[in-house]
Symmetry: C2
Subunit: 389 residues, 2 copies
């Protein structure tokens, strides 16, 4: 599914492993990856070598204490790297239907290059789960975010807006949380596709109550995260995650937000990235609309009341290419994988049966099944592999 040469494959594998030892968006790691390549950095970490040098801004203070801190950070990563089993990480991920997408891969969303600005916390790689193609889904997309403790009004507006955006083939990107995020995802999924950007491993299902929704969404949409399988979310992970929501889309709509809502953090990323910032007004008597009114009053956010308003504002900057709808990964399968997929029975079968039915070797069938699982097109069952329910 992904076309990587030998070096690309090694780098992608190294980036996948790095997600298990270093925090997403780490600026120093980003500089090392740019200078020395992911495979080299990873090899150095595993071998317990000292950190490779990176170009330093002339006006940067060569504070010895700062260097000591960096060294401790590197040593921590190095110790963690020694405990990572690359095959195990990738195998466990594939078994859970999770694939890794690295910069340069066909599924890598070009808009993330917006994070490549001075001090921009560029993503080093994304874990992706689901039948949608992340890049294609994000082409014609909008972020719809808001408070977890939303009001009935906010959830109603989020759902209506998301449903109507889906009607116009606009993919809704959000953070998978309770409240506005959940209402937007659910309505978008009911009428089209949606992208869930999580702050935890894609097998972790945080919040728990959204596990069923995430499984549903994985059929046609995608879940995406910078954190590896098994990673639980810490408070700061949500903030670093928010930059991805803003960066994946040409515009962000804040539906409801209290005075200190995390949605305002996403809004600030949208402004930094020069994306379209929009806010939904609400009763001035509602604490959950205070943040939206601040955005309208002080941040020059566009006032949007419905999907048409959103499409008009984002479309006005030429960022909603006319497209008939999201493209599924299955459309991009190579001939071998497509044959293997066709041979997988709905009720499930072992790899040998699939290999025989598809006319390929057991070896090829097993590799294809792994890739198909990573793309969310097949899933494990007691009999072996089956089409997702």
């Amino acid at each position: 599914m992904t076309v990587r040469d030998w070096q690309g494959e090694a780098d992608a594998r190294a980036r996948a492993c790095l997600t298990a030892v270093a925090p997403p968006g780490d600026l120093w790691l980003g500089a090392m990856l740019a200078e020395h390549g992911a495979a080299g950095v990873w090899a150095g970490l595993v071998a317990g070598e000292p950190p490779p040098s990176v170009p330093v801004e002339e006006d940067e203070d060569p504070d010895p204490e700062a260097w000591a801190r960096l060294r401790r950070r590197w040593d921590g990563w190095s110790a963690a790297a020694a405990r990572v089993d690359p095959d195990g990480l990738l195998g466990e991920s594939a078994a859970a239907g999770i694939r890794f997408v690295a910069p340069g891969d066909p599924e890598w969303p070009g808009r993330l290059d917006g994070l490549d600005l001075p001090g921009g916390r560029r993503s080093h790689g994304l874990w992706v789960r689901g039948g949608g193609d992340l890049r294609n889904l994000c082409l014609r997309s909008v972020a719809v975010v808001g408070a977890r403790s939303a009001t009935a009004y906010g959830e109603h507006v989020a759902a209506e807006m998301a449903y109507e955006l889906a009607e116009q083939d606009v993919v809704v990107v959000s953070g998978g949380a309770y409240g506005i995020d959940g209402a937007a995802h659910r309505a978008a999924h009911a009428n089209g596709s949606t992208v869930v950007v999580l702050a935890c491993g894609l097998d972790v299902d945080y919040p728990r109550g959204h596990a069923g929704m995430f499984a549903d969404i994985a059929r046609t949409g995608v879940l995406v995260s910078e954190r590896p399988v098994g990673a639980t979310p810490r408070a700061k992970d949500f903030l670093i995650r928010n930059r991805l929501i803003a960066a994946l889309t040409p515009g962000t709509v804040v539906v409801e937000a209290g005075r200190r809502s995390g949605a305002l953090n996403t809004a600030s990323h949208a402004v930094e990235l020069h994306r379209v910032l929009m806010a939904v007004p609400g009763p001035v008597t509602s604490a959950m609309s205070v943040g939206c009114h601040v955005l309208l009053r002080d941040w020059q956010a566009g006032c949007v009341t419905c999907a048409d308003d959103v499409v008009a504002q984002v479309g006005a900057v030429g960022e909603l290419p006319p497209e008939s709808g999201p493209v599924r990964v299955s459309a991009h399968l190579d001939a071998e994988s497509a044959r293997v997929l066709e041979a997988v029975p709905r009720a499930g079968a072992g790899p040998a049966v699939v290999a025989a039915a598809s006319g390929t070797s057991l070896d090829v069938a097993m590799r294809s099944l792994g890739l198909l699982a990573a793309a969310g097109l097949v899933e494990r069952c007691r009999a072996g592999w089956r089409l997702p329910r």
Copy 2:
């Protein structure tokens, strides 16, 4: 109370009479008044003379049909002028506590000169009722307008905002209608002063249900109109009235407005006059907030949620002079009128008693009582004149 020379008095008297024959803001009449003076124009009308010539724009089409229409208009005014009894009009007005304020009078609000732009329907004169000084009240003022068929939410927000504006010595100007206007007037009056701009004669009390509120407001605030005593409002009068609301104030707040609300007409005047336009957001599910959201989205209206927001936005353009509060007409009384006012007993007395008590002649006392009544400081009763209840 007003300082006019002989010519000024004759012109003011003519302008007062003109309100009884020509519609407010008539452009052609405005051009004639500027060219020939009000007294001359009025004399010509009464004498049945042909219309005096006014300078015509070079590129204006001397369409003979247009001239015939103008001539019919003039002849209609002329016929009506012949039926006007100037002493009767002014006497009846004074008896109802209504004074006439002409351009150049001390009480004339300077901001109305903003209407003196090409095609601007400048006011030819204002009827004023109440104990406030129109000019002083408007110095530090804001228009708060909105739908007649307001929701409970809208009336709540209008009242809260008006009350808090009064707290900050900002006078609320509005149109006296049911709904938002009434809620704003009532709350402003409860905590300070307010100005009611009507589309009918100031003795007409339209809408009827607000007669009591208007009487209350007249004590410390003012009611103002371009129409003479007895004039009932027609639909178009509200639109021409709306320009006054926008012109009297440095900024207009629209609290609630349907898609075709008259408040949007006031908003368009505010924009034309380069005043600050503000809108209160509301639920996007409310038809009564649709107009406000259009103003926020497409008219670059400022988003305001409370009085502080309004003061910040209007204050930012330097249009809210710091002042300790509105000034009452009584502060400007000449010594004679002040003595007469002091002599009027609460229970009421005839002019002879008042003259004796104030140590003035009957003649002076009667003239002063007329002026005091026009300023809303005394009112007629069975015994003669008394202080307003």
